[in-house]
Symmetry: D3
């Protein structure tokens, strides 16, 4: 790469200072707030261990919440219920909502972490890219499109969501319980996107290369 | 009232159909989704009982989540930590954030329920109105104003919140932990506003008259 | 109240400075502009007397315009024609438009004064709240909804109002004269909202508690 | 012109239907609402006669309001006070505000009628164009620029106008009375733009060619 | 004109400094960037001569690009193909798109230069004004309206343009090749508007009076 | 993948139809318009051959323009000058502008193709992601940040770009010629984004995996 850069530089008649990485420090300085971690509770210590075992790392969002165990376990409980518990929505569908909402809010942390999840769960790396870039450009089923249209309208103009929007979901085959889950996942990422942006939360760099 | 209406009608030369209440059914049909309540867990049954005892009623948002105990307890755990646990932000400050964010998102449920909380905690009914209408018009301390400016920018354009915004909070006297709490409360209501709007959640009518 | 505050403070481990009222001075310093009142003309003096008699006070907007009698009478003439003269729209309907438009523009003065009017004319306090918060969440007749949709679109994107929008009003039962009146009331509050915001106009504090 | 069109058509291989004028009917069908004119009051008849004498025509906005004399005289009284009475703002400055606000709201009627006024009062036809197109591109004095920045912010986001905005006007040399007048003129055109857009009001075609 | 100004001034009780022209320097200082012109290539010198001969002047945009002949000829080649080569769209239609897009982007240079072109090609001066002010207010054919709606949506929210928008154009009689041309012209002016705004590009003053 | 999906499905109690790829057909149906390619001119045939040789494929955007050689060569001439010719901006900087602008406009084609270019030229895959997601979250030099802030403001609100914005670039070390180049690249992608969105242009699938 250095070679390519210096060639470029000579062509353009100016010296290029070598770039420092755009993501320098992402794995070590997780947020812009100085909040020392609390001693993990046994439950949370076990959860971190499980992350290490299954993913090979602890997602930075968990480390960010670890300054207070009450906050960390509340977050984990809600997250795991929404994203992993049984639902009429598949895990992939829930991750697609996560990314489309995070794209609306242009949230670096969530786009990186959940973009990787979409790539992994779908086995279609480009689907992850499309959710980040513009879900409207993806070849989606009617069900997927209706779900994402609802989630993104709810993110952009929640005050304009009305019965007609719910009816559109029902026409696409969603039950009332499914509608709740779409709303709850979209709502959750509208929260997480803001906590991440407010604190400049940085994703584990390992996500970038996953499931490409 | 009927008398006033008919007088008006005769002046205008047209018959006025008597209005049905704008909030008809708010205490009975809590959302637009048909989700039968699950049998309360002992823990949640106790929590409902405590609500009845202390508030005189169970807030409708809890009834809305009661179709599944896991979801209800995750919501309650996060809510109680954010809004009631010790924090550098007073309870009133947290409720002011709740209402200013909900005003940005024009969320009927949250404006009614948390507007009442601002009135009650401040003893200043007009402060509740101002948070609903336009927090910029209230006579606030520099601290309060900085806090609400951050929370509302984070709601409107999270992608543009940067270090300078955090510095502004620090200059107004907030610690890094306070900044987390502002972000977390603002984030939480960006979630709740959307779950409420997505489901047409209706507030208990008793809130309307509280602490006026 | 002081007692509640100090209890809160001790729980949170920080001293709370007692809040000064968010509306301090609203009844005495009516705008941010120093414009001494002109001697009232006989006509305007009589009008003020009539306000005192019927309402118990002179609305601050009138005092704000009182620095010049020509401006005051022009404002009063237009206001009274639009809001009180015979029309196919009831007085309540005109006040609902006033508040929905003022909510779009987040105008403190107009939301307080006309929110009280909606509560008073409808006998339904929550209707006033709903117009302030999000008219789309109210249980309205088709006629009311069409009227407010038109008024709010006209406030938000006047350049996109076209024949199809007028047709929608006609289909909801409005005559061409009614359409003029909807437009004129919506237009008027788009003016008043801006005069009030430009001058930081403060509503009489008595409005806050009216017709709750 | 016909010749040019047919040449174009042959080059492009398709027949061009001759265009009907984009402003067809503007002088005869003044709004999209069917509201027959009321018999003019003596005062308004005299005013119309004065318009004919001084301008050579009656502005269509007056004809539009002429379905009811009360509304017409209220409009005329407010308009004449704001735009013609003594003020710290010159008539040209008031017309510049009128056009910059109407450009924000993309109002056909007001841009045509008041664009002509700016051209006429300034003797600088291009100034009229610039107010219509983008006032920020005009070579303006600091005073003019501050005045238009305030008026356009007040049109776009009235809820964000605060003391700092008034201070900026004061620093540019405006008195508190001037600030009222800027706000009142900006407010008035935010009203008129909406009445015009709501009714598809058409300007007298004679304006188009004036003072070019 | 000076006479009118001084009269105005005396009425308002303040001295009016005579305005310098809002477009002062437009014919001499073409952009805000100091980029000395390169020696014209023979091809571009011939093109400039042809402009002088046919139009009587060289459009300032060409002088702005003349600091580098490669950039100038690339611009000229693309411009001439898009705006002058055979197409299913007439030259007037292409200029209407140019102005409607430039109105969305409020671009002074392009509105002046292409507004003049619409006036000239249509023989309907008011059509030029309407494209600048609000194309929705013009009396247009269905074909013209569909074309401009597409071009302006593409300018405002390109990410929301989808098959349904193309279908609407097809229903209005456009071929796929026409759709390309609409997109290419709208795209081109979204580029030119930004180059002009970024550099404060000034139109030749002669345009203002053309074809009025 | 099938295995993962079916496991998921069984957990959730509903059958998941296997997804078709979100990018199905991207390499074969390049736009939504049926525009048969013209016979390549010798110059363009040579250019395509050079693409095949250097990149291993012909970028789809070139195939999309290939229905008419004049349009294709005009596009290629402008593109190559802007992105590859000598400039005070490095090639990487120009590609960073391309992606940040395309992210503002949420353009699938340009984000995929130019995101790959940023990854390749920087040797920092995450930099490509950051330009797509939110350039404000990247660790950038002051120069890079100023450049992207200008380009994105120019994309979002070109009418508000003024001398102060150019001054900010000069303070960050850019010459007037550099400012032209930033504007020209930003402008070009505001064009290309719209041509791509208008035609549903699909990127070569090979880009997705490049330089990860």
């Amino acid at each position: 790469m250095a070679k390519r850069s210096s060639k470029t530089a000579s062509k353009h008649g100016r010296a290029l200072k070598p770039r420092t990485q755009a993501t320098a420090g992402d794995d070590t300085v997780i947020t812009a707030l100085h909040l020392p971690s609390e001693k993990p509770s046994p439950e949370m210590a076990a959860y971190f261990a499980k992350c290490e075992e299954k993913l090979g790392f602890v997602p930075n969002v968990l480390k960010a919440y670890a300054f207070e165990m009450t906050k960390l376990s509340a977050f984990v409980a809600m997250y795991n219920d929404l994203m992993l518990a049984p639902s009429g929505l598949s895990k992939l569908e829930r991750e697609m909502i996560a990314v489309a909402v995070s794209a609306h809010n242009r949230c670096y942390y969530c786009l990186v972490a959940h973009g990787a999840a979409v790539r992994r769960l779908s086995g279609d790396p480009a689907l992850g890219e499309l959710m980040v870039m513009n879900y409207r450009a993806a070849r989606l089923s009617r069900r997927e499109r209706a779900m994402l249209d609802f989630a993104v309208k709810l993110s952009a103009e929640p005050w304009r969501v009305e019965e007609e929007d719910r009816e559109e979901l029902r026409r696409a085959g969603f039950t009332d319980r499914d509608i709740w889950d779409i709303a709850a996942v979209a709502g959750f990422f509208n929260m997480s996107n803001r906590v991440a942006s407010a604190t400049d939360m940085r994703p584990n760099s390992v996500y970038h290369g996953q499931a490409r």
